[in-house]
């Protein structure tokens, strides 16, 4: 008895030491140059402190059991249910702006709209880097490497040359007939028009002159006007004014404490967020006319653009990121355990999930929450076979009802999620539960304690549930694993490839589980039903889409506009098209923290 107490005291002391180190080390963030000299020490904002303290407390409480963990979570995370309107809402503090690299597919779409489909097919922009779950956040923080700059240069030269050697399209692209090899007037007209579209703003006179000079130099060197136009275009496409969404803002005339994005910047945000490509001429004109300076003007534009086919591409790509569907093409599955697995099956899994989303969001323009527990899905022959459905489609994909008494339903019952959140040769309740917590509920699972020891008794012949129960007998693991495993165990009827099963290792599967205080469930459809009633899910979805739109993790200071966005989403019956508009029209989309005053 005494020894375990002494151990516990030593443990507490160790934790307090760690907490002390954590608190001591966190107050600033330092950026170092080679050589060790720090150049920036940014104090972390108060909300970040709160989260760090929350993490620490979660780690600490994780060592002592589940109940403290739950109590802590209920206190720190947003309450369920509609916001309490009697509470004074937190004043809006807009987030700072940073340059945002165009995502690779946005870059390609922009080149397509500027130069044509054939030139766009030749570009090889650098791959995107995910930070905090989204490419847009990585694009707003990370610097471009030399590899990236080289890829941009090659892409720009190839695309521009292809466009300017195509006799059928180049004269329309240039917009004037050259009167001489180095016709300066025509080059100037081209650079002005093309440059405005490429840089998403009008060029200054000296900028225009500089690129005209490049065009003249190249045209003269090759004795060919269109080579001149090609090099001028290639230069414009390599400029940071094309490669980055430059967001600087200007002082807000109505509110001295903050900045407002310019009309051009709003137009650019709308174009990339809602249509995944560069703003067209009419949108730039609207910006120039001041239409995008008011919330009403932005809302009207956004509503129209949400009907653009580009909006379907951007939301589809957003779900590819958020649901990790891109990982399907690299997913490792053990051929001995899953001999029917193939690259084609993985591709079909992605298609199935995307088709359900497409059906709910665009075909129906309906309640988004249907994707959580829909009693139908879209399968091809391979997937129908995987799911044991009768009447597989003879070719391609078809809508298929799911058994009404079955456990499959919604995206959590689809093979994509079930296979991705699994091991190469088995299911993983922990991965599946972690996904629900982090991606659907926006909850952070604390770090495993340092020096975690996963030494376990022998688990051969056990079911997954039994193996994981052995995990949770270790108090330093139990707190966090309960958060994840409690959910994932309810999906154990689905193996590591998403096939339905009732036994494992010769024993019947017990898939009874619970989701916090929301209730018990067994299987994907019931889990989806519980999540459907939980406002945290739609709030988390709105927050994630907001992050993709603005390139940063939403801050505490933005909680009021985000609540308003969610209220608009909910009020519309959870239509995603409306959510897109709510985000675009939000103060948090149009205003920013004070930056460098020009």
């Amino acid at each position: 008895m005494r020894r375990s107490q002494a151990t516990k005291v030593a443990g507490i002391k160790a934790i307090l030491r760690r907490v002390g180190r954590l608190l001591f080390n966190l107050p600033h963030v330092a950026v170092y140059l080679p050589g060790g000299a720090p150049i920036v020490k940014r104090p972390l904002a108060r909300p970040t402190w709160l989260v760090c303290l929350a993490l620490v407390a979660a780690t600490v409480s994780g060592c002592f059991g589940r109940s403290e963990e739950r109590a802590f979570l209920n206190n720190v995370l947003p309450p369920q249910g509609p916001p309490d309107t009697t509470v004074v809402q937190r004043p809006f503090e807009p987030a700072p702006l940073t340059m945002r690299v165009l995502l690779s597919w946005q870059y390609r779409n922009a080149v397509r709209d500027l130069l044509g489909a054939a030139p766009a097919a030749l570009v090889t922009p650098p791959p995107d880097t995910t930070v905090n779950g989204l490419d847009a956040i990585g694009a707003a923080q990370l610097a471009l490497s030399q590899t990236a700059i080289t890829l941009y240069e090659q892409s720009a030269l190839r695309a521009a040359r292809a466009a300017m050697t195509d006799a059928a399209t180049r004269s329309q692209l240039v917009g004037c007939a050259p009167q001489s090899t180095a016709d300066q007037a025509c080059l100037s007209q081209f650079v002005g028009r093309f440059g405005r579209l490429a840089w998403r703003r009008a060029l200054a006179d000296d900028e225009r002159a500089a690129y005209v000079a490049l065009g003249v130099q190249a045209a003269t060197a090759y004795n060919d006007f269109y080579q001149g136009a090609a090099f001028a275009a290639a230069g414009l496409l390599q400029s940071p004014n094309f490669i980055y969404q430059v967001e600087i803002g200007r002082p807000d005339p109505d509110e001295a404490s903050r900045f407002k994005l310019t009309g051009y910047e709003i137009g650019t945000r709308l174009a990339f967020f809602l249509t995944g490509t560069t703003p067209k001429d009419d949108l730039l004109a609207a910006a120039e006319a001041g239409e995008l300076d008011t919330a009403e003007g932005v809302r009207a534009r956004a509503a129209a653009m949400a009907n653009d086919s580009g909006a379907q591409e951007t939301t589809s790509r957003f779900f590819d990121e958020m649901l990790q569907l891109r990982d399907l093409s690299q997913m490792a599955k053990d051929p001995a355990t899953y001999p029917m697995y193939s690259a084609a099956l993985a591709a079909a899994m992605r298609e199935e999930t995307q088709r359900l989303l497409q059906n709910v969001i665009w075909d129906q323009d309906g309640d988004f929450r249907q994707v959580l527990d829909a009693d139908y899905t879209f399968v091809n022959a391979d997937l129908a076979s995987l799911y044991g459905l009768s009447d597989p489609p003879p070719s391609g994909f078809a809508r298929a009802p799911l058994p009404s008494d079955g456990r499959r339903g919604g995206i959590l019952g689809q093979a994509a999620f079930l296979s991705l959140m699994a091991h190469p040769n088995s299911s993983s309740p922990t991965f599946r539960g972690k996904f629900v917590r982090e991606k659907l509920l926006c909850q952070t699972i604390p770090a495993p304690p340092p020096d975690v020891d996963t030494n376990l008794p022998n688990t051969t012949g056990m079911t997954t549930r039994e193996k994981l129960l052995a995990h949770r007998q270790n108090p330093s693991c139990a707190g966090c694993h309960a958060l994840m495993d409690d959910i994932g165990l309810g999906l154990e009827n689905f193996d590591g490839l998403g096939r339905y099963r009732t036994t494992e290792s010769g024993q019947p599967i017990d898939a009874s589980a619970s989701l916090d205080s929301l209730g018990n469930f067994a299987g994907a459809r019931e889990l989806g039903g519980l999540l459907r009633r939980d406002e945290r899910v739609t709030q988390c979805f709105a927050r994630n889409l907001f992050r993709a739109a603005t390139g940063h993790v939403d801050t505490e200071g933005e909680s009021t506009p985000i609540d308003k966005i969610h209220a608009g989403f909910a009020g519309s019956g959870y239509r995603v098209k409306q959510l897109l508009v709510e985000i675009a029209a939000s103060d948090a989309f149009r205003y920013a923290a004070k930056g460098v005053t020009p």
Binding site: R21, V31, Y32, L33, P34, P38, T48, V51, C52, M99, T129, T130, V131, N132, G133, L134, I137, L142, A143, L144, S145, Q146, T147, A148, I149, T150, E153, L157, A210, L214, Q217, A218, Y222, G235, Q238, P240, I248, A332, P335, H423, P424, N425, E438, C442, Q443, T444, I445, P448, P450, D451, V452, D453, T454, T459, C540, V553, D554, T555, E556, V596
Partner: protein, 447 residues
């Protein structure tokens, strides 16, 4: 008859640009140990990284000093044993806020990593300062066509927890350097784009003019931005300068050591869902040796497998991802097999370096290659008694034959990083910061 001596200045007189040339035999002094003008043969540096640690009691030799014996996990190094220094007993001293992140950032940079506050988003972290290969590149990589290379083999990386786990080379917190996974593409980058400059083709001249204007645009933009964005554009500007250097570079000169292959066909495409780790790593190792022999670069990072990597070691009969295996106490035998496999691939690189003649010796005589991982042992995320190998002689700076050097007082792993940097000619006063700061070299492996 007096031997013919070529001076580098003679060669460059026509070109009118300051670019690096490979080590022509005619430019060496008569003993082949230095350039005729007295400048030493350049040193090379690489980090060689694999994820998820080792099985310490099967990796660490018992005896210390020159008489150390190969253990099961070090056995693949038998042909290069004299070139290998084993370091044990050292500890990662940056704050241990998160397993794997701490090891990776600690062993590759010595800077505390920066946790990106999740606020309901997935946990991520970035490096807090430059990785050691980039510190080396800034010191010894400025005169070669490529300041450094980033090579990777296994594609099963963990990309969801931020740059710390995904990338090996970092110029700073916001500047991770992407890796090349495709040997054929790396070959193209290094060799196939080189063509003797054609004075009648204006293309390269025009490319440079365009880049000049792009630089002007970037500088103009910088004036309007805050500190963080200005730093990002500084990186952009540096990258443009490096691209300009490559456009202007002469092709490498063919020597007995610098003989590029006709074509490289390995593209790192999986067969039946299985990564071709041996074939890819061999191709990459050969390309690295060639890049060093041709003096196209002097610095590299080589990511055999990633931090928290899900690499499946099919070649030794495995079907589960490695990170998962390390956290299963019943599977440590398989973890061991994977570690042996990785060390065999490391041995391949060292053997190729040893077989590449340079001066009176070979490339490995003039190199320092640091093998490390993101934890000591994956099962427990340990960061004490860290497994490190320092291979190569670094021109005589490192002990030869190599020793097993053990710290009995949990010294700072950054001491080893400092020694590696100085071994290749980066005369820095310290490495890392805060807990990971070291200005104290690891004398136990210095000659």
């Amino acid at each position: 008859m007096r031997p013919f001596r070529l001076s580098r200045r003679t060669l460059l007189k026509g070109a009118g640009a300051a670019i690096a040339l490979p080590t022509l035999e005619a430019m060496l002094n008569s003993s082949g140990t230095a350039f005729a003008q007295g400048a030493p043969i350049p040193k090379r540096f690489a980090t060689f990284f694999f994820g998820n640690g080792v099985i310490l009691n099967r990796w660490k030799p018992t005896a210390t000093g020159p008489g150390w014996q190969l253990t099961e996990e070090l056995a693949p190094l038998s042909n290069v044993k004299s070139y290998v220094n084993v370091v044990s007993g050292y500890k990662i001293k940056i704050p241990n806020l998160r397993g794997h992140h701490c090891g990776a950032a600690g062993i590759l940079s010595g800077y505390p990593f920066i946790a990106l506050p999740p606020g309901g988003a997935p946990y991520n972290s970035k490096f807090g300062g430059p990785s050691v290969d980039q510190v080396a590149a800034d010191a010894i990589g400025t005169s070669t066509t490529f300041p450094s290379l980033q090579i990777a083999v296994s594609k099963r990386l963990t990309r969801g927890e931020g740059p710390t786990l995904q990338f090996l080379s970092h110029r700073g917190p916001d500047s991770p350097l992407p890796q090349e996974f495709n040997p054929a593409a790396l070959f193209n980058r290094l060799f196939a784009t080189f063509s003797p400059p054609d004075p009648t083709d204006p293309r390269d001249r025009l490319r440079l003019s365009v880049l000049d204007q792009v630089r002007a645009d970037a500088r103009r933009l910088q004036a309007k931005l805050g500190t963080a964005d200005r730093a990002r554009l500084d990186a952009h500007l540096t990258s443009i300068s490096e691209l300009r250097t490559q456009i202007m570079a002469l092709p490498p000169v063919i020597t007995s050591a610098c003989v590029p292959p006709g074509a490289v066909t390995e593209t790192n495409v999986d067969i039946g869902g299985i990564e071709q780790l041996e074939s890819v790593s061999e191709a990459m190792s050969e390309l690295l040796v060639l890049a060093w022999a041709c003096d196209l670069t002097r610095v590299a990072s080589y990511q055999f497998s990633g931090s928290v990597g899900g690499t499946v070691y099919s070649a030794v009969g495995q079907t589960t991802g490695e990170h998962t295996l390390t956290h299963d106490a019943q599977m440590q035998g398989q973890v061991h097999d994977a570690v042996v496999f990785v060390h065999a691939r490391f041995a391949y690189l060292l053997e190729k370096l040893m077989a590449s003649p340079e001066g009176t010796g070979n490339l490995l005589d003039n190199s320092c290659v640091l093998l490390c991982s993101d934890v000591c042992e994956g099962l427990v995320h340990s960061i004490t008694d860290y497994p490190i190998l320092v291979a190569g002689r670094a021109g005589g700076y490192l002990k030869y034959p190599g020793v097993h050097h053990r710290s009995t007082s949990a010294d700072n792993t950054s001491d080893v990083l400092l020694t590696c940097l100085r071994a290749v000619g980066a005369n820095v006063s310290s490495v890392g910061a805060e807990g990971g700061l070291s200005s104290n070299p690891c004398t136990g492996i210095m000659a």
